[in-house]
């Protein structure tokens, strides 16, 4: 549904993306991982069409539900008004949202569990709440593609957990494609089917989470020794997690 | 002369004493005290004069009886000369340099030096920026104040003294005094409520301006000729609107002579102004434009007073304006006015059918 094929992006002489190919299909969720400065955000922007390609092609629907890492700082709109903007694509230049659009916005807020602050001012919400509202706005677009830029990076652990549960829940019906960038491979384990590893020393790797989120590749990705551990969750089922071996021998 | 000294005027007195002193001590030297109390020393009568204030150009021409002593003038003086009769009387006048100053009175020192003047007349009281360049160039600056009849007589005297023709200004002042006193005497008996409300509009076409009583020369000669300034409540010169004019409802409207595209139809065609008493009674007049514009003070001002006195109180006055003009132009410019010249100056073609204008008609 959305992706890049042999995409090349250059900033001056520097080649930021070199022959990058990946895609997220309907019903699948893709996590993009990579160290700082390796081009995660550029790949995302290129995929969304915000960044011109020097070569290659972009596949994307006309409207993509996009959740920026930070919202425009000046948004003093009421939350519901902000979410209704998700309907803009279908309204055209001079269109005004109808009762149906407002209902869709309310549904989206409900879906992310943020309906209770529908009448608050967006810029008075906490970071986690804002992220939920932006997600609701992306859902309100009605697009079957959802793109999130580092959705967990500004959130505390509790909010990260909520967000990941939400992403899993959104994936569950298997009727949309979800793409997100992240620093934390555990987010990929929790909410993604596929992963794109933007390796610092070679071409990017694209494949199912089970084949890509493995200690050897992650060590290449971050340059830090990694360990895969299996945790028993509260409900008794096993759950994988990866840990950086910052503490060296002791953790090993 | 005695009258001037009696008026206790220290400027004139100063100039007079200076003259007397000059006559006693060094026959050649001329000393003038100007309006900023500066002494100007001239070894000989000034023969190359630059005038930066607008009305002075025609003043110098009138005092010296020709254009040969005027070597530089304000571009706006040149405009008045071209538009008015002076350009016809003195065709050479249009060739005098107007590069010596901008219309903002900032002198162009290079152009000033090029005409090599021995006297530069400049405004007093408008800051050193327009004076210093003249003085720093080593030139004689004569600074004058402007606005009242008294000041006008003072600076005209200074200029006459500078060019060594005091008899010219004496003649002029005598004439002014005679006319002024004659009008004052006749007007004195008019009760206040029989003095018409007169509105002089300094500008009309962009915005409309009028002036209150203080510092306004037009207000002074309106009072002199037996009128009341309709805009007396204004403080200085201000922009006003038609509604205000309707409220004042003047009995006479005087239009300025500065705006070339302005004539009395501007009033008659206006939905509001055409309902004023002045318009209803056809008492709207544009100020004449002769050797200089008749609105500000100049050597021709007595003609302005006679013209206006005849218009405001025709029953009191019987000046023969055409004869007075002919006589004055002969004296001032040594020029014999034709009937057509006079009609051109007082706009007979444009406002000949205004109330009272028949008395100015050619016989």
């Amino acid at each position: 549904m959305i992706g890049l094929t042999n995409a090349v992006v250059r900033f001056g002489n520097r080649c930021v993306l070199d022959q990058l190919s990946f895609s997220a299909e309907r019903g699948r969720s893709l996590a993009i991982l990579g160290p700082n400065g390796r081009g995660k955000t550029t790949a995302l922007r290129a995929m969304l069409g915000f960044q011109a390609l020097a070569a290659g092609t972009r596949t994307a629907p006309a409207v993509v539900g996009y959740v920026p890492q930070y919202a425009s700082s000046n948004q003093s709109y009421k939350v519901l008004d902000a979410v209704v903007m998700g309907r803009a694509a279908g309204l055209g230049l001079f269109g005004q949202p109808s009762a149906r659009d407002i209902a869709a916005a309310r549904d989206a807020l409900e879906q992310v569990g943020a309906l209770r602050f529908a009448k608050e001012r967006f810029d008075r919400l906490s970071g986690g709440e804002r992220q939920l509202v932006l997600l609701a706005r992306a859902l309100a677009t009605g697009s079957k593609v959802l793109v999130l830029d580092e959705p967990g990076s500004a959130l505390d652990l509790n909010n990260q957990a909520r967000l990941l549960r939400l992403l899993s829940a959104l994936r569950a019906p298997r009727d949309r494609a979800i793409v997100f960038t992240t620093h934390d491979p555990n987010h990929a384990l929790a909410a993604a089917d596929d992963a794109l590893l933007m390796l610092p020393d070679g071409p990017a790797l694209f494949g199912p989470v089970a084949e890509t989120i493995v200690p050897e590749l992650l060590e290449r990705l971050y340059g830090v020794p990694m360990r895969l551990v299996n945790l028993i969750g509260e409900d008794g089922t096993g759950q994988n997690a990866v840990l950086p071996a910052f503490a060296g021998r002791r953790a090993a | 002369m005695s009258d001037r000294i009696r008026s206790g005027n220290r400027w004139l007195l100063g100039a007079g004493l200076a003259l007397a002193f000059a006559g006693a001590a060094a026959a050649e030297e001329i000393v003038i005290t100007d309006h900023e109390n500066r002494e100007i020393h001239l070894d000989a009568p000034a023969s190359r004069i630059v005038t930066i204030p607008m009305p002075l150009a025609s003043g110098v021409i009138a005092l010296s009886g020709g254009t040969d002593r005027l070597v530089g003038l304000n571009p706006l003086s040149l405009t008045a000369i071209r538009e008015g009769i002076l350009g016809k009387i003195f065709p050479d006048a249009v060739n005098i340099s107007d590069a010596v100053t901008g219309t903002d009175f900032v002198p162009n020192v290079e152009a000033l030096a090029a005409v090599n003047p021995d006297l530069v007349v400049q405004w007093a009281g408008r800051g050193p920026e327009i004076v210093d360049p003249i003085v720093n160039a080593g030139l004689n600056a004569l600074l004058i104040k402007y606005g009242t009849e008294e000041l006008t007589r003072q600076y005209m005297t200074m200029v006459a003294t500078a060019i060594g023709k005091p008899e010219r200004i004496a003649e002029l002042v005598d004439w002014s005094d005679v006319v002024q006193h004659d009008i004052e005497a006749k007007v004195a008996s008019i009760p206040q409520d029989e003095r018409p409300n007169v509105l002089y509009l300094g500008r009309s076409l962009s915005d409309i301006t009028a002036a209150g009583d203080t510092g306004s020369y037009s207000s002074w000669y309106i009072a002199l000729t037996g009128g009341r300034n309709a805009a007396a409540e204004l403080d200085g010169t201000s922009s006003i609107n038609r509604e205000q004019i309707a409220q004042w409802d003047p009995e006479v409207i005087l239009l300025n002579s500065f705006e070339p595209n302005l004539d009395v139809n501007w009033v008659y065609d206006d939905p509001i102004l055409s309902l004023t008493k002045a318009a209803q009674q056809h008492r709207v007049y544009k100020m004449p434009l002769g050797g200089y514009r008749w609105d500000p003070p100049s050597q021709e001002s007595p003609l302005t007073w006679m013209w206006l006195a005849e218009l405001l109180h025709p029953e009191l006055f019987d000046y023969d304006l055409r004869a007075e003009m002919t006589k004055a132009y002969k004296t001032l410019y040594n020029y014999q006015l034709t009937e057509a010249d006079i009609d051109g100056i007082i706009w007979t073609a444009q406002q000949g059918d205004s109330l009272g204008y028949d008395q100015f008609a050619a016989q």
């Binding site: 709109y77 803009a88 230049l93 009762a99 | 706006l76 922009s239």
Partner: protein, 354 residues
């Protein structure tokens, strides 16, 4: 205007969340009506309020009747067109201010930032220097404003994209250039005729309002207001970061220009008939935001109503306080600057509170 901002719950009646905004709009409407009526009833010429209202009523009931007495002419030919132009100009300038502040995401932006006002001023000064008035003057003012806009557009377009920062910098450059050209025209203008005209015109005034001028300026002003109003929801979207706006289906760098063109239209029409009037586009949107919030669907009409009221009120003061006309620009600045300072302080205190 959007009509359902309430939470539509079963208990809450629909009108309740709207009552505050509804009350605000009702007050704005009443204030504007009062301002217009008062303005028609007062002036330097004494017409009693009752007579004025009677004349007005007669004119509305029997349009096309001959206007003969001075009272009638003062009310219908002097005050009425002046009030109409002032109201339209106030509404249009304030609306243009809101729209620009929206697309620039900066509440301190005004048409001067784009160089439009300076371009329009240059056009007007040029026309006056050449002795041109009326509709041709409007045309030249308009061309001046648009040339400034196009110059800014060409300067700001780098690699096929226009960033907001480059637009603001280009606007500064172009604005300064046109300001210098206006100064040059003033320098060479005839101090007897065109210079006072230019100076007076640059100060701004509705004193020269006539029904002819209403007809000249109304189409552009009303079209500008109407199209910006039609864009009110889009303005919400355009007020987001470019990437967000783009992800929501907008094309910010093109649609911004539509807004700019409409602003140029408004400024051109207003400047042509009443000279440069500052502050309205800055102060009024701020005040409106405090009352109805930031959503352009409510902000735009609120701003238009407030702007019209403000302008009519200020112009009434300008022509009635003294026998002399007080320059409009002086009054809007004297009222606008402190009001703006106050609003700004409230705005930032408001921010800190969150």
């Amino acid at each position: 205007m959007s009509t359902q901002i309430d939470d539509g719950g079963a208990i809450a009646p629909r009108w309740r969340p709207w009552s505050r905004t509804g009350f605000a709009f009702a007050s704005f409407g009443v204030a504007l009506m009062v301002a217009i009526l008062v303005s028609l009833c007062v002036g330097r010429y004494s017409v009693s309020a009752m007579t004025a209202l009677h004349i007005l009523g007669e004119a509305i009931v029997h349009p096309g009747q001959a206007i003969e007495s001075m009272d009638q002419r003062i009310v219908l030919l002097v005050r009425a067109p002046r009030v109409v132009i002032a109201a339209m100009a106030g509404a249009a300038l304030a609306t243009a201010g809101v729209a620009l502040q929206g697309v620039f995401r900066n509440p301190l932006v005004s048409p001067e930032v784009l160089g439009i006002s300076q371009g329009a001023a240059f056009g007007g000064a040029l026309a006056i220097t050449m002795g041109i008035w009326g509709v041709p003057l409007l045309g030249i003012v308009f061309i001046g404003g648009f040339s400034a806009l196009i110059a800014v557009g060409m300067l700001a377009r780098i690699n096929g994209q226009t960033e907001i920062l480059t637009v603001i910098l280009s606007g500064m450059v172009v604005g300064s250039l046109f300001s210098a050209c206006v100064s040059l025209l003033q320098f060479i203008a005839d101090p007897n005729s065109s210079l006072p005209a230019i100076v007076y015109w640059l100060m701004g005034s509705f004193a020269t309002a006539t029904w002819d001028r209403v007809l000249v300026s109304a189409p552009g002003l009303l079209l500008g207001i109407a199209l910006l109003w039609a864009l009110r929801f889009r303005l919400n979207v355009l007020s987001l970061d470019d990437s967000e706006a783009r992800s929501l289906g907008a094309r910010p760098d093109q649609e911004r220009w539509l807004v700019f063109v409409l602003v140029a239209l408004i400024v051109g029409c207003q400047v042509a008939v009443s000279g440069i009037v500052g502050w309205v586009g800055l102060v009024i949107p701020h005040a409106a935001r405090l009352i109805v919030g930031h959503d352009h669907r409510r902000l735009l009409p609120a701003t238009a109503l407030l702007g019209a009221t403000f302008m009519v009120g200020v112009d009434t003061l300008a022509r009635t306080l003294t026998a002399a006309e007080i320059p409009l620009g002086v009054l809007t600045a004297i009222i606008g600057a402190p009001a703006f300072a106050l609003l700004l302080r409230r705005h930032f205190k408001d921010r800190e509170a969150t």
